[in-house]
Structure formats: C-alpha cells, structure tokens
C-alpha cells in the first residue's frame, strides 16, 4: 500500500467528565474521497477540530504524507497542505467573488491592488478547477447557496498548496438540485490528485461519492468499509447505532381523540408542502437532519417565521399564526431548542420564570398578586420534581434537565392544548431525560396534542406514536415506531433509503 495521505493515530481527547475521543484513528489514502460518518456525539467534530489544531489531543499523532506533524496547530496543518471547508460560509456579503476568494492573500503591486488580475484568476480557478462559471465581479450576497459554497472552496484552495481538503457537512444548507453541482466540483478535485475527507450525515451522499468510509461511535473508529456497494447503507447504520433502545421511555398507553391541528401543504422558509395532522392525546415526532426544514417548520408553527403558502387549521378552524402571541392565544406553545436564550430568563428565579406566561392571570388590574403566583409556581415545582425544590432559586444555576422542566412548567400552568417541543432533551442527562419524557407523556394523556421535533432518532422511536421524516424541506415518509426501528428512521432521514412521499415504508 502506498503511503497514507493523512493518518491520525490513536487520538485521545478528554474534556472534564467526557472522553470525547478514545484512541480514535483515521487514515486517508492519496487521491481518495473518504467518508466519515457517525451519530451526533460520536466524536466526528472533535477529531476534525483536533486535525484543525483547534483542540490539542491528550495523546496520539498526526502524519501527513508520512511526515510527523508536531505540534498540531492551525498554522502547522495549513503549512502541511490541509484545508477546511467549514459548515459556515464565513464570507463578507458585500465583497465581490474575486475579493472573497483572495481575502487575506490579495494580489497587489506597487500601485495597490491588482483587481483585474484577481478577478481573472478567480474566474479561471472556478472554471478550471471546480467546473463552474461565476463572474468575478458579482457580489457574494447575490449568489445562491451552492455558488457561495464554491466560492468558499475556491478561497481555501486558491494558493494551490492544498493536498487534503476536509469538507464538514458541505451540503447541509443546500437544496437537492444544488447538491449535484457541489458533488461534481468535489469529483473534479479528486481528479486533480487532492485527497478529500467528507464528513456528512447524508448517507446517500456518502455512498454516492466516497471510495472508503470510516464509522465513528462513542469516540472511536468502529468500522472502515472499503467497498462501496448496495449493502453499505445498512452496514454503516448498524455500525453507527450499535446499541439497543434505552429503557427510559414511558409505555404507550395513550388514546387519541379529535384532531387539534392540521397542516395542508404548508410552505415556508426552508420547507415545502408539509401536510400533517395531530390528534389530542397523540405524540407526533418530526425527524430530520439540520437543514431538513424541521427547525423552520417548528418556528413557523410558533409564529417565529412566516408561512408562504398552504393552510393551517387549529381545532377545526382556519388559523393564522404570525407572532408567538398569536400562537399562544390559540393554544399553541413552544418549548424552544435553545432554552437558555429563548426559553428562560436566566437571572430570574424559578418561580418568576414559571409564572412569566401567566402574569395576567395572577394580576388584579395589572398588579401582580405575588402570593397567588408563588403558590402556583410552588405547586409546579413539586409536580415536576424540579430540583432544588425552591421557587427562589436562580434559573442560571440549575442543571440542563431542571431548566427544561422549568420551561415545561411554565406552559403547564397555562391552558394550552398544542405543545411543540423542539429538541426537548438536548444537553440533558439521562436521568432527567426520563423525567422529561414522563412529563411529555402526561401532557398527552391529559389530552394535549404534542409535536416533538428532534435530531435524536432513539428519542423519537421511544416516545412518539407516529414519526414524520423530513429531508431537504419535504416530508418524505411516515414511520410507525411500533413496527419500525431506529435504523429505518436513520436510513430515511439521511436519504440512505428512499420512500415514496407520504407512504409508509415496508418493514
């Protein structure tokens, strides 16, 4: 075998309380496209950051074309010819394509910038090396997302020194049609003898583009696949998952009543033609990767984004939600994904946070009835077992799980019957997760309709009655958790298997 283009050997990286990388290794052969996959938290991002010199590993080594790189710093890996195409574009919107590509390495002569030459070289590079034609004088903000991504790639490679290029989720913000443009460009790079590390959640892309694939789980490489064939999809998924369902979910003993929310071909920023119905007593899951339109759908349901088409019915009546207060007035409440910023007022107490949404009910002529509010808050604290059991505790100092319970408690104090929970257990430890699931279960049993949007397939399978799978802005499948597994869910949401729209996938 020829010398590896890049090899990371037995990398260990620990953070307080977490072993993020546990003797992880990754080897790229020259001029190959190498896929790196794994669930959230498997250690993919950590090893990329180690490779980029952002994290210093506790032990292990990096070799590039046989040469030992030590220490690993942003400058040393750059000098060794490694380039990163980060998920975020990091481009100046009002710069021209040429200025953006040459940023930090502008061409200048004794009389200042050589703008014409930069434009010419930028256009030539985009055309010859990436196979696209973009005028060098266009402004970055006028470009489509795929074009911006190509400009970002050109910027990383324009100095001609790149040997290994790392793509971190390059297609996440792209629509399906744009993905192909990017794939073509990456293929071209491979033909120019550049080695590529391709990190993605989209397994169909991995299968379509990669020569070899490494799977990470729990901070280490658990499998390397050399043959990319039809059997790869299921093999990757079982290597990624490698565990059974956690036994922390409540039993499904709910009964459903009438429909409380119906979406008919709802279209908004980032999603199209989403139809669904939610019944009282039901927990409906929405699955999808970042960029699938799942987050935008949730935002639209709560009035944080505007729908552009389609209809929404609440309690059988046509409804419009333009602002969060519209949503609340019609019985729709949101437990946001970023609870520290959007869900809670951190410097305030538990009691104040719980009664925030019910102040008008606790007030007489606008003056808050403190005693009333306090009793109400104290009742919720004991009901949900919020710890410490003290309404005067400052929310900032609570654990993630208890903070989430405070957000839930606030809405439980109101008469809402449609709950939208966005990533309800992100950053919450396993014990608190079980408690949150039991609160969610009780909400449904008490007759609310609950919509859970989550990136955790285990959570959706364990908790929900039905699951809708979104991919690139559309609902591509509906899953029955009683009959289908986490593997099916991952396969559908990563595009590894296709399901005809709106139909159930056979088991």
């Amino acid at each position: 075998m020829t010398e590896a283009a890049l090899s990371l050997q037995e990398i260990v990286k620990t953070f307080p309380g977490v072993r993020a990388l546990d003797s992880a290794s990754l080897t790229l052969q020259p001029s190959e496209i190498h896929g790196l996959v794994g669930e959230n938290g498997a250690g993919k991002s950590t090893i990329i950051k180690v490779l980029a010199g952002i994290y210093t590993p506790d032990s292990g080594q990096l070799r590039i074309a046989g040469q030992h790189i030590h220490p690993i710093t942003p400058a040393s890996v750059h000098d060794a010819g490694i380039r990163f195409i980060h998920q975020e574009l990091h481009l100046v919107p009002h710069f021209t394509v040429a200025e953006a590509i040459f940023m930090g390495q502008e061409l200048a002569g004794p009389f200042g910038l050589r703008k014409g030459q930069m434009r010419h070289r930028a256009e030539e590079f985009l055309h010859d090396r990436l196979g696209v034609t973009i005028h060098g004088n266009r402004l970055v903000r006028d470009l489509g997302t795929a074009e911006r991504k190509l400009v970002q790639i050109a910027r990383a490679l324009i100095d001609g020194q790149a040997k290994v290029v790392v793509f971190d989720e390059p297609t996440a913000p792209l629509a399906s049609a744009e993905v192909k443009t990017l794939m073509d460009a990456i293929f071209r790079l491979k033909q120019q003898e550049i080695t590529i590390l391709y990190v993605s959640h989209y397994l169909n892309e991995i299968m379509g583009i990669c020569d070899r694939v490494t799977v990470f789980r729990n901070g280490r490489n658990v499998a390397v696949f050399d043959d990319v064939d039809d059997a790869l999809g299921p093999k990757m998924i079982s290597a990624m998952v490698g565990r059974d369902l956690d036994d922390i979910y409540p039993a499904r003993t709910r009964s459903f009543a009438e429909t409380v929310m119906t979406l008919d071909k709802l279209t908004g920023p980032g999603f199209e033609d989403v139809s669904l119905s939610l019944r009282k007593g039901e927990i409906l899951g929405v699955a999808g990767l970042i960029g699938s339109g799942r987050e935008e759908l949730v935002d639209t349901l709560y009035g944080l984004a505007r729908a552009k088409g389609g209809t929404l019915h609440l309690h059988g009546k046509r409804a419009r939600i333009r602002t969060p207060s519209d949503a609340i007035a019609q019985g729709v409440v949101l437990v946001p994904r970023d609870r520290r910023n959007d869900g809670l007022v951190l410097p305030m107490t538990v009691g104040e946070n719980i009664t925030l949404a019910t102040l008008d009910e606790d007030a007489t002529f606008g003056v808050e009835n403190r005693a009333h509010a306090r009793t109400r808050a104290a009742r919720k604290v004991s009901e949900l077992d919020i710890r410490p059991a003290n309404t005067g505790a400052i929310v900032r100092f609570l654990s993630g799980g208890n903070q989430q319970k405070v957000v839930l408690a606030r809405w439980l104090a109101r008469d809402a019957d449609i709950f939208v929970l966005d990533e309800p257990t992100v950053g919450v430890d396993i014990g608190a997760r079980a408690e949150i699931y039991s609160v969610v279960n009780r909400l449904a049993q008490d007759g609310a309709g609950v919509l859970v949007s989550s990136s955790d397939p285990g959570e959706l399978i364990g908790l929900c009655d039905r699951i809708l799978v979104m991919l690139r802005g559309r609902v591509v499948a509906e899953l029955d958790p009683a009959r289908q597994s986490m593997d099916d869910l991952i396969a559908l949401s990563t595009g590894a298997t296709n399901a005809p729209q709106g139909q159930e996938v056979p088991v």
């Binding site: 990091h90 919107p93 390495q105 744009e178």
Partner: protein
C-alpha cells in the same frame, strides 16, 4: 435553501436603496427653481469651500463604518470626530493667538486628536463598548475639554497659513479644495485600492470571515478610530479657515451633517454600503442643500429640523433595503 430573487422584487430593492438620492435630487431641483441664482459655478465653488470640514469628517466616519460594519448601533460609528475637529481648532486658535508658533500648535492639536482616537479605540476595540455610546460620550467629553481650552469664547485667527488656506487659489481653484481633494484621493487609495483597505472592510463585513483568514478585525477597527481622529484634526484647520477663527457650537451641526452625509453616501455605492467615495459625495450634497435652503431664506431652526428628518429617512431606507436583502 437558496432562492433566486424574482426580478420585480429586485427592482423594488434597487429603488428603495436609491430613494435617498432621489429625495435629495428632488430637493435640489426644488431649490434650483425657488432660488434661480443657485445653480451657478459661483455657488458650486461656495458649496465646495463650505463643505470642506464636513467632507473631511465624513472621510473619517466612513473609515470607521467600513471597519466596524454598518449596523448603526453595534457596528462602526464615531460620533466624536466633530468634537475632535473643534478641539483641534480650539487648540490651534488658542496657541496661535498667543503667538506660540505654528508647528508647536499643530503638534499639540495632533496629539490631542490622536489621544481621542486612541481612547475610542481602547473603549470599543478592547473593552468592547458599543461604538455609538462610547463615541457619543466621547463627543460630550471632548467638547467639554474644548470649552475649557477656549473658555467658550470666539478666538480670531489671522495666521498667514490659515489665511492662505482660506483665500489662496492655484489655477483658479481654491487651495483648500485642492488640499482636501488630494487628501481624499490618498484616503480613497488606501481604503479601496490596497490590501490594508480590503482587510479593514473585511472586518466590517463579517468579523468571523476576516478572522477565519487570520485578519484581526479589532486591530483594524482600532486603526480606523485613529485615522478618523486624524481626519478630525485636519478638518480643524478648515473650520478655522472657514470661520476665520474658532467659535463655540460648530460641532453640533458638523455632527448632524456628518451622520447624514455618510449614510446618504451608501445610496451612491453600487454595493449599497458606506464607501469613502459615497461619503464625500454625500457631504457635498448636504452642503448644497444647506446653502440652497439658506439662499431661499429658510429659517436656521427649520434647517435643523429638516436635516434631522433627513437622517431618519436615510437610515430608515437603508434599514429597509437591508431587510429586503436578508
């Protein structure tokens, strides 16, 4: 998801971005009709000469906006430049009136101006204060210092160099205009034609993007505040020349016109962002409007109201245009 913007919406955006210029053009036409003598070469010369201090402070302001970004509150803004200008003028006037020597007067005024710039830089780029707040407070403080220096009196200056700036002509063009034009060209080259200028603008456009390629947005912002103070210092000479001395109260109007002209200038730029070039044009337009209204006999108090309203209009249109793009 990328979406191609429909052509009609794009046309509307263009119009919104351009609206401030249209409003100004309309006002100039109105003045031209109301005050027939207004559109003559003589007035053009007068407008240019009267606008020199504003042009200079606008150059300074646009440098800071370019380095810090266009967000009016959190981005780059330096309201203290006009105060620096009057402080420089005050120190020059006081020192020259006491026969203290021209070079020493210049050094003192320059030192004071750069101290203001360095303080701004420290407050904003290192401590992280909001530029609007920091530079507004600075404005108040510096005006206070100037009142102490000049004891809030008018000081006449008849130093030959100041008189030369006011009266001399080369090939029929006022020396002041030539000096400011030369300075403007140099600044234009520095900001729009060199690596330094592009790096400075990169930080204003996106701090993350600049830092990804190893540029320090904060360092460039700090330099921008120093350059702005330098333009404030130079403008001090032209305030002295225009008024034949230093008088209290010049700073308020200067600040109003600076803010108006700089943001108005964005409407001239094909990219709809603040540029040096646009700011200079904006300053001249504002000067023309001011002189135009004065020649129509419009009350001075009304002028303040009109300018204030124009600032709000220009900034509101800029915000609308930005929202359209987002």
């Amino acid at each position: 998801m990328s979406a191609t913007i429909p052509p009609r919406r794009r046309a509307l955006e263009q119009l919104v971005g351009f609206a401030p210029v249209l409003i100004f053009a309309g006002m100039l036409v109105h003045i031209g009709i109301q005050a027939p003598g207004f559109v003559s070469l003589l007035t053009l010369g007068l407008v240019l000469e009267q606008s020199l201090p504003v042009v200079l402070v606008c150059i300074g302001m646009s440098i800071v906006v370019m380095a810090g970004g266009e967000d009016v509150v959190a981005g780059g803004i330096d309201l203290s430049i006009p105060a620096t200008t009057v402080l420089a003028a005050g120190i020059l006037a006081q020192w020259l009136a006491a026969d203290g020597g021209f070079v020493m007067a210049c050094l003192l005024a320059l030192g004071a101006a750069l101290l203001v710039g360095a303080t701004n830089a420290a407050l904003v780029a290192w401590i992280g204060l909001t530029p609007l707040l920091a530079s507004l407070a600075m404005f108040g403080a510096v005006v206070g210092v100037n009142n102490m220096v000049t004891a809030s009196r008018r000081i006449n200056v008849d130093h030959p160099i100041i008189l030369w700036l006011r009266d001399a002509e080369i090939a029929g063009i006022a020396v002041g205009i030539l000096c400011v034009a030369a300075f403007g060209l140099a600044a234009y080259h520095l900001l729009h034609r060199t690596r330094f200028g592009l790096h400075l603008q990169a930080g204003g456009g996106s701090v993350e993007a600049a830092e990804m390629v190893g540029l320090s947005a904060r360092r460039h912002l700090a330099i921008a505040f120093l350059l702005a103070a330098l333009t404030g210092f130079i403008a001090g000479f032209f305030v002295l020349a225009r008024g034949s001395g230093s008088s209290p109260g010049v700073e308020d109007n200067l600040m109003l016109e600076m803010v108006l002209a700089t943001y108005l200038g964005a409407a001239f730029s094909p990219r709809r962002v603040v540029t040096l070039w646009g700011a200079v044009l904006g300053a001249l337009l504002v000067g023309a409007i001011t002189i135009g209204f004065k020649s129509m006999g419009v009350n001075v108090f009304w002028l303040g109201l009109i300018k204030g309203a124009l600032i709000l209009t220009v900034v509101a249109f800029a915000a609308l245009a930005k929202r359209g793009r987002a």
